[in-house]
Symmetry: C2
Subunit: 374 residues, 2 copies
DNA sequence: GTGAAAGCGCTAACAG
DNA sequence: CTGTTAGCGCTTTCAC
């Protein structure tokens, strides 16, 4: 049976090795970072100024490439700074300039494939531009509110934020603007901040149409809570596309065919079980993410069913593993969304006029073995 | 054929919508964040002090819960601060205190499953303790050096770092110490900093032994560059375990059976191809990560082979999808490693004596369908 | 082209 | 218990 196991547990389980407590004076395994770390005195801008025989103002200007410094001076300062391996203390310059040269990426969960792609994409741009990227997980409404409210975090810690699939209410948006925080969203479009994403209605339509064209008429949907009032907008749009395609084909919506999979593999598994237990189960299922589709495949496998023989399955993302399991999917380039958003945000922070209201990424249907005709 | 596709390209591809340039005065789509954002004047500690009729010192003390403040005073300050929604400017307090209340997590790549689990685990602890987590991708030696050298980043931006599978030389270690940067490693153990990981030699042995016990004698290994001089230590250890088990069974090592998969799915795929093209291919393969194992499965599938019929495959991680594809694997709880490391680091930053030199996580063999007897 | 000095907003002695 | 004050290290007018 799948997942049944021989639990050859490691003999090394939970091995806390070498408990050291140096509060009573530094004995213990190799001084595990408890001794007062020396931290050789760092050079300050004054040290550099003195060594270069100029004022701190000149050092500051020279090192940051500001105009109004004679070429020879600039060079001298640079080399002195270099050899003292001087670097401006970020905290000090943040305080003086009021900008932190860092951004936050807020995601609803961190271990999803889609989100890690986004984070990877954004990180690449941050590395390129010298920005720090802090990532924060916002699980649920409360976390989102406390993050946005003056009540919490971001405030002055970052210059801007990328909200990834975080449902922003009108209220949130105005709070954000009032706070003067540059914002870019991924997924949802706010009409106030630039955003990047895909045409999710089109995605839902494309997926469903594909299934329809194969002859299916009873098509299940694995998505998000349909009842979620203030929920993510992406699932809703994909659902709209689904309904739209069905409508065009003259097929009535069946609420029982639409279940939530919480955008996780286990959620998809449970959702598929629900679908399979229906008196009149679907012959094809559109899962709004590949991970949920994987879950659906597992559910089928557990009952001795397989795709597309018993039910066709179609996902969204083109996860790294979709090819392995032969999953038909609507591909999007998630890491691109992340880097795009970061570029948009940072370019804005650098004072460039924002140029894009919405960037819609590429989308295409990749037909593999998990879908077939009836 | 797998991966062959119907490219129904979206008609919405690359749609740059609404190009706005307000450098010539605010017309354009709904003011896309180009206008001088107001950013209502933030309250400073002085404002609060004035409003509460106390000194800034008292405000500071009261708000941070320091001793030596009368209860009524503390309360009054708190409520005034609350209703002015005052929050200490992090840049200022960082400068004054010399601590940033943030840590960095450095990973060699961001889109691997293992690493996103780690990041997720660490983030949870940071959220809990009020630390910011900045994540940085260190691809290759140069990036690592420039990160560690005074020459670059971290310096004063974070109080501590978690290095995830970043090979640290003795030199790196002393630089880090000299710099006074609290450090925790995941994977490699340095004997200077606390570390978390698993017993990787044991992992290699466990996996190989399992294959041996099934009767296999020709066992391939998909890992990392064996020749990498300064490479990650984890692959080397797992390889040691592999050699160890083989040795116990009296089987000689065959270099041709050991190939690099770069710890990615495509790398695993290529590695498996190499293995399959051998004159005398293995009957079982131990891949050092599930993702590489997935790649191996794809390679087999592409040639009309399947596991375990033609070759048994075994991975490491227990990836979310391993159950789906029925992959036998050595499970580790990656997110745990991340949270553990974060806890270790932060507790140290909070001044607690470090208590653990090395935390070894749980490991167990999960036997599924991808392995069978000869 | 360069320097002097006034902050940025907070923390931490040191007095009272 | 509370207030005064001197920094933290950098940026940025404003003079020279």
């Amino acid at each position: 049976m799948p997942g049944n196991v021989a639990h050859l547990t490691s003999p090394h389980v939970n091995a806390y090795i070498a408990v050291v407590n140096t509060s009573e004076g530094g004995l213990g395994v190799g001084g595990l970072g408890t001794e007062p770390i020396p931290g050789r005195a760092r050079a300050t801008i004054e040290d550099v100024a003195a060594a270069a025989g100029v004022s701190v103002a000149t050092v500051s200007r020279a090192l940051r490439g500001l105009p109004g410094v004679a070429a020879p001076t600039r060079e001298r300062v640079a080399s002195v700074a270099e050899q003292m391996s001087y670097r401006a203390d970020p905290a000090a310059s943040r305080l003086a300039m009021g900008r932190s040269r860092s951004i936050a990426v807020a995601v609803p969960l961190l271990n999803g494939w889609y989100f890690s792609q986004i984070v990877a994409g954004a990180e690449a741009i941050c590395a390129l531009t010298g920005y720090d990227m802090i990532v924060v997980g916002l699980y649920g409404d409360a976390a989102r509110r406390s993050f946005i409210d003056a009540g919490d975090s971001i405030h002055r810690r970052v210059d801007g934020v990328i909200f990834v699939e975080i449902p922003l209410t009108e209220n949130d948006v105005s709070d954000l603007m009032a706070r003067g925080l540059r914002t870019v969203t991924i997924g949802q479009a706010t009409h106030r901040f630039p955003s990047v994403g895909i045409d999710d209605t089109y995605v839902g339509d494309l997926a469903t149409s594909h299934l329809l064209s194969l002859g299916h008429t009873r098509i299940g949907l694995i998505g998000d809570q349909p009842a979620n009032p203030d929920g993510r907008v992406v699932p809703a749009l994909r659902q709209t596309g689904y309904a739209q395609a069905l409508g065009r084909a003259g097929i009535a919506l069946d609420p029982k065919l639409q279940v939530s999979g919480s955008f996780t593999m286990v959620g998809g598994l449970a959702a598929m079980e629900t679908l399979l237990e229906l008196a009149d189960p679907p012959t094809a299922v559109f899962a709004m993410s590949d991970e949920m589709a994987f879950g659906a495949l597992v559910a089928m496998k557990q009952r001795g069913l397989s795709a597309p023989k018993d039910v066709s399955i179609l996902g969204v993302d083109d996860h790294d593993l979709s090819e392995l399991v032969g999953l038909t999917t609507v591909r999007q380039i998630a890491s691109d969304h992340g880097s795009r958003a970061a570029r948009l945000l940072i370019s804005q922070l650098e004072g460039n006029a924002s140029t894009v209201a919405r960037y819609d990424g590429v989308v295409e249907l990749i037909s593999r073995e998990s879908t077939a005709g009836t």
